[in-house]
Symmetry: C2
Subunit: 383 residues, 2 copies
Amino acid sequence: MKVLVIGGDGYCGWATALHLANKGYEVGIVDNLIRRYWDSELGVDTLTPIASIQKRIAHWQDLTGKKIDLFIGDITKYDFLQDAFAKFEPSAVVHFGEQRSAPFSMIDREHAVLTQVNNVVGTLNILYAIKEHCPECHLVKLGTMGEYGTPNIDIEEGYITIEHNGRKDTLPYPKQPGSFYHVSKCQDSLNIHFACRVWGLRATDLNQGVVYGVLTEETGMDELLINRLDYDGVFGTALNRFCIQAAIGHPLTVYGKGGQTRGFLDIRDTVRCIEIAIANPAEQGKLRVFNQFTEMFSVLDLAHMVQKAGQTMGIKVEIDHLDNPRVELEEHYFNAKNTNLLDLGLQPHFLSDALLDSLLNFAVKYRDRIDLTQILPKVSWRR
Amino acid sequence: MKVLVIGGDGYCGWATALHLANKGYEVGIVDNLIRRYWDSELGVDTLTPIASIQKRIAHWQDLTGKKIDLFIGDITKYDFLQDAFAKFEPSAVVHFGEQRSAPFSMIDREHAVLTQVNNVVGTLNILYAIKEHCPECHLVKLGTMGEYGTPNIDIEEGYITIEHNGRKDTLPYPKQPGSFYHVSKCQDSLNIHFACRVWGLRATDLNQGVVYGVLTEETGMDELLINRLDYDGVFGTALNRFCIQAAIGHPLTVYGKGGQTRGFLDIRDTVRCIEIAIANPAEQGKLRVFNQFTEMFSVLDLAHMVQKAGQTMGIKVEIDHLDNPRVELEEHYFNAKNTNLLDLGLQPHFLSDALLDSLLNFAVKYRDRIDLTQILPKVSWRR
C-alpha cells in the first residue's frame, strides 16, 4: 500500500513517514521545505541538529534497505502536485503540509494571509488531485483540537447530535478557533466535508492535541534520523518548551494563570494514530473525525510535572507566569472525547516521569544549541 | 455618517450605495469591476443595459446633487485598501465585494481557488484595515443563508443554544455549505468572529437569502441608474431567471424536483436591511448575525407563481425539470428564523403578483437582449 506523506520533512511528518515505511508501507514524501526557510527567517532553530531531507532519506535506506520517494515542491502549485500524484499513485494521502503555528499566523496581516492561503489552497488542491487521479484514495488530514475552542459543553468527535424545538439532527460540531491558524484548519474541514458529500471522497480529519516527545522507534535508530524539537516562542509547543527551559535553568513560561486545559499526546502515539487511520479507511463519501489526544492537562499541570521531574534529576525548576500573549480563557470547562482511536486499538503512551526524564535529558544533551533570546513569546494576539 | 460600500458596482451593492446616499449617508464605493470582466470571460451579460460606474455616479450627482466617492481597485491588495480607508475614514463598511456565485466557484479548481482566496483574503484585509485605521467602525458583511445548508432542525440566527450531557452553551450554528462559494462565506464568518473576540471589533453578518427584483426607489429614478439583472446559468438567481425565461417563452428551468426550499427577499428589502444594520450597530467585540430574508419558498413554488402571473398577462409558461446540476437535497425540512431585522423595524415587501408583473414586464422590455445560449446551467457540481 502506497502512502504519500505531505509535509514529510516536519516534526510529525518525518516521524510518520519513517514509521509507515518501517511497517511495510511504500512511502513517498512531498515537502517544499518551507519550514526550514521560516526558521531562517525568524532566526530560530530546532534544538536537535537535523540532517537535510535528502541525507535523512538516503541514510534511512542505508540502514533499512527501504526506499522513500521524494517530491520537493509546493502543493499550492497544482501542476507540481498533480505530477507527484501521477508518478506515485497513492492509495492514501497523509496531509501534514500546512503552516502549523498559531503565533506565526498572528505575527501580522501578511502571516495571517500566508497561513490561510497556504493551508486552504493546499488542501483544495489535494482534494482536486484525489478526485481527478485516485477518487478511491483515503485522505488523512491533520486538524487540531484547537478548532473547537473551549465550549462549556463536552467536545465530541467532529459531530454533535442536537435536539432543538422537538426535532433532532447530527451536525458538524460548532467551532471557535483561537488564532488565524486555527481558523485555517476549520476552513479546511469545511472544504473536505463538502468534497466528501459532493464527490464521494473519503477522508479522516484528525483533530490532534499538542504533541510532545522527540523519539520514536524509527527516529531513534540513528542520530542522522533525529527529529526536530522546537522550543522557541513561535514553533515550540508547551511541554517540549518547558523541558528545554528546565534543562538550562530558565523559568518555565506559563502564559497567564495556566488554567488553559488542552489535549496532549506522545509523538509515538501520533505515528500510531496515523497508521490506525490508514489501516481503517473512512467510508466512501464520509468525512470521519477523530480527536487525536490521549490525556488532558492544564498548562500549569504540565509545568508542575516538569518541575517535579527536574527535582528528581537534581535540577531546580522555577515557574514564571507571563502576561498571556494570546486571547484565551485561563479558567474554563474542557472535556473532550477521544474514544474513536482507542476503539480501533490505540494503546496510549501516557505522560510519565520516564518520558519527562528522557525529554529533559535530550534538552541537557543539546543545551549548547539553545538560543536564550528565542524562548520568550514575541507575538501578541492583541497587537 | 460615512459608509464605504465595497462591491458597490454590483447588483446589491449599487442599489445599496444609492439608497444610503439618498438617506443622507456620505457614501464611498470601492470596487475592482471584476464582475464586469467575469461577464466578458463567460460571454454573459446583464439583461438590463448598465452604465459604467463612472457614468452612473456622475449621473446620480447630476440628478440629486449628492456626491459618491469612487475607489477603483482590488481589496486583496492591502496597500490599495488601506489607502481608501485613510482617505475616506468610514464609520461603517458594507462588504459586498466578493465572488458571489455558487456555480462560478464550481466551474473547476481554478475558480474554486479564485473564489476562496479572493473572498477570504479580501475579508481578512478589511478586518486588518478596520483594526489599524478605525477600530470603532462597524463592519456589515454579506453572508448567505446557504452557509447553513438544510439541517433537520430549525435554523437560528448565527448561534444556537445547545444542551448536552447536562451542560449548556450558546455556540456558532453548525454550517453545511453547499458549494465552494458557500464554504468561502463560512470561512469569512470564522475570521470575523475571531477578530471580534480578539480585537474587540464590531460586525454584523447578514446571512442573506436569494434576492429578486430590479427596481429600488433610487435605481428606478433614471435609466442611466438602472441595476444589473442576471439570468444566465452562472450568475442568475432563481426567481429573476424564471421571469426572464417566461418573458421569452422559454420553459422555466427547475433543477430536479424543485422541492429545495430557500429564503427569499426583494432587493428593496436588501437595501433597507443594510440601512437598519448600520443605524443599529453591533456592540464592540461582538459578531451579530441576522438572517436576511422575508419569505421561504420552494423552487417549484416560485415556478408556479411565475406561471400564474404569466397567465394573467397572457403569457403561456411551461416548467421543465432538469437534471439537477447541483448536489443538494430536493426534499428536506427547512425552517429558518428571521426575526432580528423585523424587530429592528424592517417592513417586508412580500412577493406578490404585482412584483412578478413588474419583473415580467422588465423582461419583456429587454427581451431583445436575451442570449438563449446562456439560460441553461453549464456547471455541474459532480464534474
